[in-house]
Symmetry: C2
Subunit: 68 residues, 2 copies
């Protein structure tokens, strides 16, 4: 199972985490999400396309880059 | 028309503003709400009871004191 890590800019609180979680959760192939506003980290498990994960984060109102 | 100003602790982003706005908007007598996470200010217009406004902010997950 693939796990990709993204650095997300702009999350400040639990509401922000929830927004990212909701949008990324709609991406096909996403099976598990870990997200932390404190560290700005998003970890996505499952066969989801990176471009779609990035687009979902953008849709939530933040920006991300894949770092691992 | 009375206007009361509160200082709210803990709001960090627009989602936080929205949470406060939603809860305070349910208080009887509230006619207009201005809220800013940047300044931590909540301005409530209308004949609402201070204790109910404070309780609504608490319900949203923040704390407030009346300052004006």
């Amino acid at each position: 199972m693939s796990t990709n890590t993204y650095q997300v800019t702009g999350m400040t609180c639990g509401h922000c985490e929830m927004s990212v979680r909701e949008e990324v959760g709609e991406v096909p192939g996403v099976e598990e999400i870990q997200v932390s506003a404190e560290t700005g980290t998003l970890v996505v498990t499952g066969p989801a396309e990176e471009s779609k994960v990035l687009a979902a984060v953008d849709e939530a109102g933040y920006s991300a880059v894949r770092v691992g």
